[in-house]
Symmetry: D2
Subunit: 373 residues, 4 copies
């Protein structure tokens, strides 16, 4: 009935020609590329509300490098209308991912009661093999395919009524058999301090993912400072293989809500690669106030608190280095106790860079100061 | 396998509790309610990319009062995965519409080559009855159900290669048989001046709709001054029956891109119900500049151009009365030719209120002025 | 040398014709008008950095009804260039205030070391009379003119090194002699809980002011959720006399940083006059989630926390009613313990409405619910 | 009366410690630094409304590298309060400019009736020497000091009632005597096409300046896409001397309202240094649509229009490469007329880069395309 021409023109009518991508500005570190990834999301093929290609287009617009669509193996909200096929959303999304040069990683969500809860398996060959009555068999089926397996939202109130992550024997069993490689420290808008600590103690990979079900812009708003959480992967290159290597090597951090969570070894270079003190030297005259200009190439607003006494200078006890901007730090000589040039170390803690659930990253700003009375 | 508890908790996890609605601020007029409606959109049940409930949630957030999901009768892009059921998206969306107090009108899109092109039929009882080999039969099947039938995007380049709407004998046939009640004067980002003029000449209802296929926020952005086009329906109350009566009575206008299109009888009261001159009188002293404060309760930025000579005053030749704000118009006595109080009529045209494809709405601002030399 | 024509054309070139005013949307209460006022600011005539007319134009744009320019009596930073005249900035600003229909109140800042610190005097006839060697004489000179006198920034770190407001004998002396009528509970970005409590204990008027020195937009940004603090004055009409009456009658509240500070008797009607539950009744079916729609006509985002057990319903423990929007509260029947219609009281505390330094305003949302199993 | 301590604490209270600078992202070209400059502005020392230090702080926040405060020599609106001193605003602003590392250039505005109108003189030693009865003597006094002299707002309606720039004998006289070096092609929100053409014909330097009188944020809003106009100076380094050399060498362009005005030799490298095609090759399959990703490191939104037939591909006839983003250009093979790899030149005009009043910059995007049928 319908001619091919009509179909083609309808297909061409999707307004996609002027889509815009907002890059996530977090610098590369230590010779690795800092890839921005979201490894947890759903479509109409489980209990999500969008077609699989939408997840690719959203991710491209949000500045991501890699995603995994992780449909529930055990739960299909729309099965009355949509036949259950565990690999189908990957297959539908794949051509769009190729066209947009986004890494699409085949994954699935093993969805069980607690314990052991929900687990994502990435880098699958065939997600359908995970459809098993026993959870142990489902996880084994992922492990056999070489999958990277992580525990989702360990403190989710749907399974932990008091919102506190709880470690069960089942998790020990998984850990001991090498089938637990990481955990979501952040899921959607929730942060799980227990999971954060377990990742440090057990050397597991930290992840932060959106777990988005509806259109991404109904839950997050990258234009309004409320972007989706992402897993930063420090990879040798932008390929699925390199991402897999980095995930198994625990080279990740979690970025959400203007906060970075990760090991000191990754957060420290992110800070120092982002900021720059523009004054080669600051000339102080008596007790006049002078201005230090600090630029920040990342998009994060770094929130600094003074972390020690500074003998020579009055400096603000707290200040923010805004993302993508240059800011001013006002300083003033405390006492006219010296003459000439001097290098001064200013110790700060960065409130929104967490290296443990309790500890913030310590940094030092180094100023060259010349006192002229 | 899965317990009911697990399903319930997953269902409860959609973050929907803090959704926000942005009202569309266009005043009621002439004793009617000004309802904001979008009568053209798609879901995964034809060639759209979202689940039907998403259309209801988006519409609620965008400040709409009524929508119709209008799946293609003849074209299902996802039929390999989703069975063809013409009433299914309405049935799925309905409970959510009830919960959010949004009027959901059952509709469908008859999707044919030009002529006669695409037509939406609203207020259907059974959309499946429109699935006929001949287009005449499809439209008749809608008409028999008492549907309101309108021609979609008459100048769409997919069917009108030069982007110009063309009237065919088939349209005359429909018009003469009382089966053509309106036209899209605006579809997505396109405005069709030919269709605008036909609506005026043939007394047809003007409509403006989004025709959205993907998530609404990927194509429109209500936060950035690029909201979806809507059909304003001037209805006796907020019910489907009242909307139907208003549509058949041609009581509509089209609102898109900070522009209103409609008959003078509707646009005039929208303007006068929106703005207010706050100064009871403006005291002029010699040739000093004085300020007239004008508030605008609507969300539209009215763009005014002077439309005639004003003997008494210098006024700006163009100025904008911003939506939701109070603005200032600077005036100055031209000649000191009078004393005492006087009422002065300032004639303007409103650039973004179109009463025909060529004619802008004329308005008059009336000032009370007192000259004190 | 210069012709009059040239001067006139230069004067006309200030681009002022299209200034925009953003109203501050806080409702009127108890039969009073809620006037938005800033009673503390400086110009080049003391140590500010703008010409006096700028203060009027800024205030008009920021939605204010009344201001006072309060130059330091004892300190003129620019006296090398600008002659000291204590009434001059008022005289310069007055014609612009008349033109913009803004109440300009003559004031000044008595600027002394602590104790007793800085004091603003409003409704002066002649500010020059306050220029006295002894602070007692300066305040008496204000009092003699019938001035409303309030203590500025009682906890300002420039005079209270630990940032804590301290009450001295000098303040007791002023209070006892009826020369202390109010206090700044908020100055710029600082809130003083001690001053807040003193206002309650001693029945003094609470004020919140900007104390702006530079251009207002360099310190505050009304477009970005960081507007200047204002004093809300609940006045019988919008006149200086009515403002004076209201100030002496302690009918004020402080609005800053999306927070209201004031007595329960004023904050309660502000809340209830702002919000409206749109559902006449909510129909609950079994344990399905249903949606309550709540609109908020004010610009404040009210941040609610549950404040008691609710037997019948699950409701969110915290949620926000966004300013100028309609939001959704998801509810669900806890137990199917009743049938038919019922009125349910939901007790909340409003986190950003402070009636004492420790106590938040308690409110009740009343729902009509119908249970249909 | 006031102790030093009080003065110091007041001085320290200006909230300046957290000022933010928004860089203007326009790339360096041809080995030169692209400096962002505004060479026309006023303070309270002529008819402006801010203190001189404000101009420095505003310029720093707006991402400028150099400014000149150019008070009227012949007109002081506030002389009743402020003594006339032609070098005073420079002297007051200078220490703040040093502290913020901004180049402050001493200038003044010779303000005469038309002809010859208003002229700015930059790089003065003593502005007071320009205070002469005859305009010829005033300009000579600037020239003698080695000043760079340019004609301000040649089409300003205050002196050209029809808004059209007019060339008088007086201008020929200035040109012939080497005392006219440039012109404002843009002043505030006005563009003068006649001046643009004269600059091209007579080899004069093009300038675009704000001519701001009030606080900059009352007239411009860099956060809302309405920043002040600036003169881009292509200088060997960021020093006043290098700026002077570049101005006399005509190495400038004008940037305002998302539009660049300048010679082809400067605009061309700005475009090509800003954008990058990210796909190394685009693989076309049959007539499928594919996506070209183009990034734009500048802040300008480049608005492109197709400028010629492209045999091989369907491409959009217009599209925008948004500033600081990556965008997509959808392409499709027109005819399956070739196999294998090929380089295709896509000719466009950039609507918002004007190399003459009538001519837009022509650019070519080069794609590597591989056709696989």
């Amino acid at each position: 009935l319908l001619t091919t021409l009509l179909i083609i023109t309808i297909l061409f009518q999707d307004g996609y020609s002027q889509r815009i991508r907002n890059e996530i500005d977090i610098p590369d570190i230590l010779g690795y590329k800092t890839l921005k990834c979201d490894f947890h999301m759903h479509t109409v093929f489980s209990d999500g509300k969008v077609w699989p290609t939408v997840r690719v287009e959203e991710a491209w617009s949000d500045g991501l490098d890699a995603i995994s669509i992780t449909e529930h193996i055990e739960y299909q909200a729309h099965k009355e209308d949509i036949a259950v096929k565990h690999n189908r959303s990957y297959d539908i999304a794949k051509p769009r991912a190729i066209g947009l040069n986004l890494s699409l990683i085949k994954g699935a969500e093993i969805t069980r009661e607690m314990p052991p809860g929900h687990f994502n398996a990435l880098f699958l060959n065939d997600a359908a093999l995970l459809d098993k009555p026993e959870w142990q068999d489902a996880i084994k089926a992922a492990h056999t395919q070489g999958a990277f397996i992580f525990w989702n939202h360990p403190g989710w109130s749907g399974q932990q009524p008091d919102g506190k992550a709880r470690w069960y024997d089942e998790h020990t069993e998984l850990e001991n058999s090498g089938m637990l490689h990481g955990m979501e420290v952040v899921n959607a808008s929730e942060y799980y301090p227990e999971a954060h600590q377990w990742c440090l103690d057990k050397n597991l990979t930290m992840l932060g993912n959106s777990d988005v079900h509806g259109p991404i812009d109904m839950n997050y708003d990258s234009h309004k400072g409320k972007p989706r959480p992402v897993t930063l992967v420090f990879a040798k290159e932008k390929t699925p293989a390199a991402i897999k290597e980095a995930l198994f090597s625990r080279r990740t951090a979690v970025y959400y809500n203007n906060t970075l969570i990760g090991k000191r070894e990754y957060l420290e270079p992110i800070f120092y690669n982002s900021i720059q003190i523009l004054n080669s030297t600051v000339v102080l005259k008596g007790k006049n106030r002078e201005y230090v200009q600090i630029s920040n190439d990342s998009e994060m607003d770094f929130e600094l608190t003074i972390a020690g006494d500074i003998l020579e200078l009055d400096v603000p006890s707290t200040f923010t280095i805004h993302g993508g901007k240059t800011v001013i730090m006002a300083i003033r000589s405390k006492e006219e106790i010296y003459q000439g040039e001097k290098s001064i170390q200013l110790p700060f803690r960065v409130k929104n860079m967490k290296i443990t659930p309790e500890e913030e990253l310590s940094v030092v700003l180094e100023l060259n100061v010349t006192q002229n009375n």
